[in-house]
């Protein structure tokens, strides 16, 4: 024990979202109409409303033109306008140059070279001192204080709407783990209450009024933005779009916490057990648009079902049959079934609305599943595998060609050399044919690891959407590691300068930190694992773009 040190175990609110609201500021917030109806006594003793407001919110003051949220960024917080006005940019959004986007800062030449002697010999070395309070536990984009580069141009060329005092926005991205769908900027000098998603989750959980309000707004916002994003509806005028939005149904299939039971489901659930969204042979009453999650398209083959493909966000099902029925005047049954994979949000646009507003101006759609249906059965294995293993969730999965891999572990050593002397992946994982998907973070489309992080230490990078961990705010609770359906997050005991394990002064238990692949975001080399493989056996791939392994063979 002589070479071990004691320290204080990090707690839920050790790192508040901002400098912390004063009692007077909390009183002012609670007195506002948006918060006045919240019944504080319904909050549990360990999670009082005042402490949520103190620790999970911060007051932000912005100048006119300053960006509040940017389209495409992964935000972890929602906003309430306390004073002033904001403008929201309607689709199509502002171009990148007006939004002042910047690239991830990589190490310079000197920083890169100096790693050769500065890299620590002791793995997972951390200072015993508590790190500085971070500016934000997430990625709200406030720290850089970005401005819309040319407001007159933005207002002239782009449709905007004004949000007044008391408006709540940003909850869609904060709770849905999806990128911001619109950009918003301060129209006047503005004062905002920013609530990180952990606080928003608690308020929603314990207050019925906020829960209803958030859910209604969530549904309304999702509907509007997703209809606008679909090419089928992009050319419609605002009035027609409003009619379609009013008639569209918002449906949810599967469990929101699909990751919790994923491994159990994997053992027990066959495709037939998945919730059916639309059944082959039935006559559908509307077009199905995937809003979040994944759904598999299946067709009956013999006495079983065959996975033809899967649909992700923005993809639709049933269009061909509906259009053909409208054209011929005779009902057409669905040629395929649609089933929820884990959790999926679906928009159902009624047939009557399509026939009246969309089909007349539309060319005959091609049968998107014809190629998959004609595919040899021998090629089905790949599709069944990636759906069964939920690999379509991974846009940056690590794939190893075992026909080339000499098991030399140069990739593992390179990873360790660039990450505190400890690799951020293990060269093990699911195998199909001669391809192995290793236990390396896939930077998922639906990053369920973000759910439940008490401090927001694990978050989406605003620059490129990779999932990264803020080491200084990680409290080592293991929630993310337990949530990851793919076992790609590893908890490690941190060490001090004498290689001793940091221990909690209260209970003597080791202090843990969550670690995972960060794609070597700061390294000039890019992912060191890919660079280090002498046999080109290892690559990072996007399973969403991959419909077979043929393109990977070389």
């Amino acid at each position: 024990m002589t070479n071990e040190s004691s320290t204080h175990r990090p707690q839920r609110w050790d790192t508040p979202f901002g400098p912390g609201l004063s009692d007077a500021e909390i009183d002012q917030v609670i007195a506002r109409p948006e918060f006045a109806s919240i019944r504080a006594e319904r909050f549990p003793a360990h999670m009082p409303l005042r402490e949520i407001l103190r620790n999970d919110t911060r007051i932000v003051r912005l100048d006119p033109g300053e960006l509040i949220v940017r389209e495409g960024d992964y935000g972890n917080s929602a906003f309430v306008i306390l004073a002033g006005k904001a403008r929201v940019v309607l689709a199509p959004g502002l171009p990148s140059e007006l939004l002042g986007r910047h690239k991830t800062s990589q190490k310079g030449w000197w920083q890169t070279i100096s790693q050769l002697w500065q890299n620590r010999r002791i793995p997972e070395l951390r200072s015993n001192r508590r790190g500085p309070v971070p500016k934000a536990s997430g990625d709200t984009g406030f720290e850089p204080r970005l401005f819309v580069q040319d407001i007159p141009v933005a207002l002239d060329k782009h449709r905007t709407a004004v949000l007044e005092e008391g408006a709540i926005f940003g909850e869609l991205a904060a709770l849905g783990r999806v990128p911001r769908t619109t950009s918003m900027f301060a129209a006047t000098l503005i004062e905002l209450l920013e609530i990180r998603w952990q606080g928003l989750r608690e308020i929603r959980r314990h207050d019925e009024g906020w829960r209803k309000r958030i859910d209604e707004r969530y549904r309304a916002n999702a509907l509007q933005s997703h209809l606008l994003a679909s090419p089928l509806f992009a050319k419609l005028d605002e009035a027609t779009l409003a009619i379609i939005a009013a008639g569209t149904l918002f449906e949810t299939y599967g469990s929101f916490d699909w990751h919790v039971t994923y491994k159990q489901l994997q053992r027990q659930q066959t495709p037939a057990d998945e919730p059916v969204i639309a059944r082959q042979g039935d006559h559908t009453d509307g077009l199905l648009l995937v809003r979040a999650g994944f759904a598999r398209v299946v067709s009956t083959l013999g006495s079983a079902e065959r996975t033809l493909t899967y649909l992700g966000v923005g993809e639709h099902h049933g269009l061909e049959e509906l259009h053909e029925a409208w054209k011929s005047g005779a009902p057409r049954p669905l040629g395929t079934s649609l089933k929820a994979v884990g959790y999926v949000d679906v928009l159902r646009v009624p047939t009557a609305l399509l026939e009246k507003h969309v089909f007349p101006a539309m060319a005959m759609p091609e049968n998107r599943f014809a190629a998959q249906t004609a595919r040899p059965l021998a090629e089905d294995g790949f599709m069944e595998w990636i759906v069964a293993e939920r690999l379509m969730n991974g846009p940056r999965a690590m794939l190893i060609d075992l026909d080339r891999c000499t098991r030399c572990d140069d990739c593992v050593r390179a990873c360790a050399a660039t990450h505190d002397g400890n690799p951020r992946f293990t060269r093990q994982g699911k195998v199909f044919d001669h391809w192995q998907v290793t236990h390396a973070c896939m930077h998922c489309v639906d990053p369920v690891c973000l759910i439940g992080c008490p401090t927001g230490a694990i978050h989406r990078s605003p620059q490129d959407g990779t999932v990264v961990i803020n080491d200084s705010t990680c409290v080592g609770c293991s929630t993310c590691a337990n949530s990851c359906p793919y076992d790609n997050i590893v908890m490690v005991a941190i060490r001090d300068g004498s290689a001793g394990v940091h221990r909690d002064s209260a209970d003597g238990q080791p202090i843990l930190k969550a670690t995972k692949c960060d794609l070597c975001a700061e390294q000039a080399t890019g992912p060191a694992c890919v660079q280090a493989c002498p046999h080109d056996a290892l690559q990072r791939i996007d399973f969403r773009q991959l419909k077979g392994f043929q393109g990977l063979e070389s």
Binding site: L116, D403, R407, V530, H535
Partner: protein
């Protein structure tokens, strides 16, 4: 990738190799015509290629530096290795030089080249065979996996003895298969002869006892055979992965010996050669 595509992919390497060989060849021919010493030109050229070959190992240690993909370095290393052999013959103007020191240097160089070629071939051959087993195991986990199989086999035999009230299978197991499950076996056969003898041995041990077993014991024997089959796969992984890891323990020391002899050769030539 199509054959044409591969050729295009390798074109810079081929052109580079021909240049690296052609330049010293022409230069030394020119030196010969002007009564110069072509061995000095080819010798230093060969030394340069030798340094380049050694740089591959350095690249592996410097993964934080943006030095290009290791796969490109390996291609360069392999092409450079073959080029070094050609340059060596151009330099010595014979397959086997005269003089003890030069012969020692040539022997070290040939052994180094041979170990490199063998290693390269092994790395092109074993991975596919390993993938074909359908089993993937990390080398360091092999002892634990064998222990798991051994414990499972021991338990199976104990249960069979208890359930069948007969120790025929247990006796046979202790006399034969227990030895097999104890640690990796048939290394040479797995490594170089396709595991056929190892698989035949297991089949023989299972077959020879089958006539003496009752229904329950026969059923358990099938389970034991399945465990043995898994062990065979692990043994193959052990043999192949051991060789792929350890051939470098031959190649790298030979590289060190050759380097020392090369430096000594350069010192001797420049001290006494003129």
């Amino acid at each position: 990738m199509s054959p044409f595509g591969k050729a295009i992919h390798l074109l810079p390497l081929i052109v580079g190799a021909l240049t690296l060989l052609g330049v010293p060849w022409l230069w030394s021919a020119q030196a010969r015509r002007t009564l110069g010493d072509p061995a000095v030109i080819t010798g230093w050229w060969l030394f340069g290629v030798f340094v380049l070959l050694g740089a591959f190992n350095a690249r592996k240690k410097l993964s934080v530096l943006p030095l290009g993909r290791a796969s490109a370095w390996l291609r360069l290393h392999v092409a450079g290795g073959f080029l070094a052999i050609a340059l060596f013959w151009l330099h010595t103007r014979s397959l086997w030089p005269t003089g003890a020191h030069r012969q020692a240097l040539a022997a070290a160089f040939y052994l180094l080249s041979a170990s490199g070629i063998v290693g390269w071939l092994l790395q092109r051959t074993y991975p596919r065979q390993l993938a074909d087993t359908g089993l993937e195991i990390i080398y360091e986990h092999i002892p634990a996996e064998i222990a798991r199989l051994r414990n499972a086999a021991d338990q199976l035999v104990l249960d069979t003895t208890r359930d069948a009230g007969n120790d025929t299978l247990a006796r046979h197991y202790m006399e034969t298969l227990h030895w097999f499950f104890r640690r990796p076996r048939f290394f040479i056969n797995h490594a170089f002869f396709g595991s056929k003898h190892a698989r035949a041995w297991v089949r023989q041990q299972c077959g020879v006892v089958r006539p003496y077993l009752g229904a329950v014991e026969r059923e358990r024997l099938e389970s034991l055979a399945a465990l043995a089959e898994e062990k065979l796969q692990i043994d193959f992984h052990h043999a192949a992965q051991s060789i792929m890891k350890r051939w470098l323990l031959v190649h790298l020391p030979l590289a060190a010996v050759t380097t020392i002899l090369v430096v000594w050769h350069v010192l001797l030539v420049h001290a006494y050669g003129r």
